[in-house]
Amino acid sequence: MSPDSTTPTFEEIDYETLLERVDYDFGFSRRSFVQALGAGILVTIVAPSLHAQERGGGNRRGGGGFRGNQKPVPIDARLHIANGGTITVMTGKVECGQGARAEITQAAAEELGISVDRVQLLMADTDLCPDDGITAGSRTTPGTIPPVRQACAAARAMLVKVVGDTQPLDYSQLAKSGSLKQTPENATLAPPSDWKVLGTPVKRPNRRDVVTGALQYPSDIIRPGMLYGKVLRPIAYGATLEDIDVGPAKAMDGVIVVRDGNFVGIVAPTSYQAKQAIAALEKTAQWHAPPGPSSTTLFAYLRDHAKGGIPKDPFEGTGEKQFKANYNTAYIQHAPLEPRAAVAEWNGEKLTVWHGTQNPFGVKRELAGAFHINNDNVRVIAPDFGGGFGGKHTAECAIEAARLAKSAGKAVSLRWTREEEFTWAYFRPAAAIDIQASLDPTGKIASWHHVNINSGRSSIESPYRIEQSKADYVDSDPPLRHGSYRALAATANSFAREVAMDELAVLAGKDPLEFRLSHLAPEDRLHAALEEATKKFGWKDRIAKKEPNVGVGLAASTDKGSFVAACAEVEIDPAKNTYRVRRVVQAFDAGAITNPENLKSQNQGGIVMALGGALREAMRFDNGEIQNASFWKYAPPRFADLPEIEVHLIDRKDIPSAGAGETPLICTAPAIANAIFNATGKRLREMPLRLSELA
């Protein structure tokens, strides 16, 4: 018996055998499912498109990108029940550590009325899975869980119709009753109060493979005859190749050089040889690099280049006391521990790519576009991969691998190096934020104006009850390639707002907690989160207790339907002019909790990831050259940075579950900044939070 008794016992799907046997028909093909999953029944569901955001005009900055067109998607097979009773649920979502595999599995098990170990989840294979859209924006829980539950509830209703409501439920009976069932989206779902599987701490179903090294990440995929690729990178952003001698690389044993315009790459029998060949190319390449702005003048540059100028405060002159401040957040990198990796294999006009992407269907379209081939001829498979954080939405690595494989005539594995990932992946946009506000004679906020330049609208609207409040977003002229990031603009906007709220509390002569609560109603979810976090932290005692070189701070915010409040305690080292975060207590409300253990883990990890951006993460660049493209120089959070962390979850069974992969990050930095002020009287308005230039 397996020592880990909840490990699934059904046969694993073998992608390699699948590849040879599956047709590349548009949408789903009945035959391909039979070949992949065995004879049985397919359950399909007609649902409104849940992935409009990637077609809605590229609103990468969130806060409105998910409305788009809501036309129904074609029939998508969601559930396959093999004649033997093995149940496979299909989703276009990916697993990159956020816990979707466990959560979708338990959602299916809940509605099917079976245990999680009887559900096999097939994720992110564009030939077999429905297009659930990009895995981003905390959308899996509100966007994908419902259609999965619908299909599974419908299957259960069908089974009951065939055999009656007998226990245990034997789905092989349903498989024998026909071959394809199409169901409208109207099955009755289990309410949270009746949940038996949802709401419980189900662990990642393939965790055994995680701890034994058996889990094959995209960089681990090996194909017959596979070669290793590398791409020649420019010396700086926007640099153009003026001259190169490919002769020396070409002369190397087993090396194929591919040159296609500005793209130069090589293919070799081993990574080691590939590295040597690229080094040979680098020696002969001549580049022209245009000048560009530096990170040292970044925020002035972003403000100066605000498109249409920076909007004026429409409430100028309101109130008794006036307040105005500027806040900044740096460019940072996702730096997933597995850099971009893709394995591409051509079979005539047909292309298969294994790739760690949050956007398998988007990558499929990009590949079809790049090679001018029919969408039907591209298959993208996203195996569970090593971290995304909003950084793996684009197809560059997949296209490069496919370009190399086309010339090589063999499968090619392309794995970006850490330096490439730091330099050529896109960044979280930097933000310059201006806040102008006023207080009335009673010390309450009379007016509030928040302007975000360059990073986006997420969480830009103040959650506080303020009579006159306005928020504006303006584009700038970004000096680096930027894109999505976990809690992107919500981090910047919450940082600025929550530090400003602290500054206003001081201006009003009020306790930071009382000041915030006075701008919320008792029934507000943010009110409850603040009360929970501060109670568990012991705010009232801690703020009253004066301890030298120790400070406490708090912050609260909301984004994407979830609510968060955090208290932080910092200790200052006055000799070194540095600080250390000793303790963080966070309260979190994402509606009905679907998986308490995963939600807790997302909060713990989110707090520490955000600690990186609060303490020191920032890209340094000049003239298009990234100056800290390494882990040593960039310095993500380590064990040594770990504060004592407490997470308190608020379970609102009466409210639909929201996604929670992002919002846990957004209070960390402002709570720390406010704690530093409490300890030192020094107001830090820029992330990362530095007490001195060198700290």
């Binding site: 701890v211 960089s219 713990q604 770990l642």
Partner: protein
Amino acid sequence: MDAQLTINGKPTNISSDAKRPLLDVLREDLHLTGTKYGCGESACGACTVLVDGSPMFSCQTKLAEVDGKSITTIEGIAHGDQLHPVQQAFCDQAAYQCGYCTPGMILSTIALLEKTPNPTRDDIIKGMNPHLCRCCTYPRIVAAVEQAAKSAKAVSP
């Protein structure tokens, strides 16, 4: 060069460039892909293997340096279906999110507990600090190391 290694208890001959990283040999020649590339500069620990019982960064270790040595990778620590107590602890504590750092973390934990069977929290922080987890699952990894230390105590005489 012709190198003679013992990999997960199995004598293995490798004919390859002496300067080739051990990481590449494990992954590309032997298809032991549980050992990961993370940075190539000894900054993350994803490529950690045990060489004669001590943790080493395989991305910075050349084939010639391990000739005649015994190497343990993540694939070599379970006994059949029976997970190693450290693997079991990582499972029990859900001490992973994406799991890409997990093999390196597990091997360093084994080495840490070998040297320090009763680690304090500070011992764990210090011992594990060479490793990065970008999902920042650190609190859970600390808990897994603590559980593994306890379970090792429970089975030893």
